[in-house]
Symmetry: C2
Subunit: 337 residues, 2 copies
Amino acid sequence: MSELVNVAVDAMGGDNAPGEIIKGAVEALQESEKVKVFLVGQEEVLKKHLAEFTYEKDRLEIVNATEIIETAEPPVNAIRKKKDSSIVKAMGMVKAGTCDAYVSAGSTGANLVGGQVLVGRIKGIERAPLAPLIPTEKGVSLLIDCGANVDARPSHLVQFAKMGSVYMEHVMNVKNPKVAIVNIGAEEEKGNALVKETFPLLKNCPEINFIGSIEARDIPAGLADVVVCEAFVGNVILKLYEGVGSTLIKKVKAGMMTSLRSKIGALLVKPALKETLKDFDLEQYGGAPLLGLNGLVVKTHGSSKSIEIKNSILQCITFKEQQINDKIKEKILLKDE
Amino acid sequence: MSELVNVAVDAMGGDNAPGEIIKGAVEALQESEKVKVFLVGQEEVLKKHLAEFTYEKDRLEIVNATEIIETAEPPVNAIRKKKDSSIVKAMGMVKAGTCDAYVSAGSTGANLVGGQVLVGRIKGIERAPLAPLIPTEKGVSLLIDCGANVDARPSHLVQFAKMGSVYMEHVMNVKNPKVAIVNIGAEEEKGNALVKETFPLLKNCPEINFIGSIEARDIPAGLADVVVCEAFVGNVILKLYEGVGSTLIKKVKAGMMTSLRSKIGALLVKPALKETLKDFDLEQYGGAPLLGLNGLVVKTHGSSKSIEIKNSILQCITFKEQQINDKIKEKILLKDE
């Protein structure tokens, strides 16, 4: 058997911790023989939960961490002070090389700060973007950056575009992924100062398949595989996806309940509808990688259930096997020198 | 009878011009006795179309304009050179005071530039924002600014907040409208440089009901009546609303067609569903006003059908009757001095 992929899992982070986190970890072990999980959290609590599951004991280790970083805590402070928290300890294992990757449903702020400060950026990478997959009509696109670095500079966006390309090509198997920059019109002269400055830089990148601007309307249609934007705009896109989706689904459900006729119809369409709409549920796609770090950091939704944790852990295997970080270094750093 | 509200209508702008524009104008005349329409465009073409309709002749005038500004034309140039275009001529009528308001489904760029250059801003107003109504679970919210002024300054956003408040209170009848700024977290210390600088300014505005930050996720839920943001972000929000909406509706339809059972169900739910989803169709709400100008400029979708044109024309009546521009002057300018 080849070497295992070691994944540190923050067992205490997220609304459904530790129950769903542990369940997801066990499911990942059952689904793939290539992974070993280090569950980081309060030992006694974790042991009690684990007693309910059957799994290969030598591919799961508990690492005791007594403290918990809460979602509302100011992240910089929390990371600095809570040395024995699950986030700080688990990230430390990636930094030390004990683990290849890290998965957490805990505080976004603490994970972003911890990623940059504790795990650290690959030398030459200016910023580490958060890059979730978002559902589209054609499959999924990578939205990069989605909340990690507000007020980014053009050179950051160019690195995001390259890292995103590597990820989509080698983790998601999209050949020659189409890269576009979010803009308020399709023409090159449109946009705000940041976009106008970034556009020609992207156009002059032979390493990526830059197709130009993308208007927000065309993102759900899947016109680009890698959707580049600065973090503020990316965060708005991600959250509006969720917001419009949830409001519309509520409207559809309410619409079906307005008459007896439609209620009967609703019973008939429900199973098929549920199946189709599953593709449009952001939580199906595992977590969002924080790219450009010395190791992989994956941030999943705070509300993650076991399936999202499982998918996030499995995603780490591909990341390691495909040597994504080496490819990022190759694409970005060698070219820059 | 009280004085008529005079509305100049760009009969040549939009994908469905002049047919749907003329139809919408006639429908507006039929629905309200308070309005007079000046159809601006190629006289012979308009006359031919008008021959099909019955309407009160003395409340509709044709104003000949031989040129047409196309959507793809660089706006500044087009406005400068095509003096006999429908946009330039119709806006000139507002500037001259012949008309109170102006409605166009034509080139967004030309309308934005024309609004600022030809109609002109109210003295003291720094920027004129484009402010469409967007559907929410609770009704509608005003999204301001939505594409007119990229790279805005904090003082612009404060004026947008005040103008938006006046509009929602007096045109849309929302008492003490809740104003929020689009942000990537609810806490005051979150955000990019622009939002961080604007937040305390809004907090110190006694003239508006500022409720703090709003995350994009909560916009469709209707948590704020006036959603303040700079134009780039506003444009992304508006277009993503359309994009996610259209993709989801496609998915729902496809989901209903996957089995015989669901197809039968679809027939039963269709009428009720259609009715509910109508509320979520942006085109139901007429056009977007460009606020802060010497007169009202309303920009409707390029794809406007007659209903949107009609609603936009009727919207002008309320705007005039409620003396919105006087109220804007009062709220913004007196306070500033």
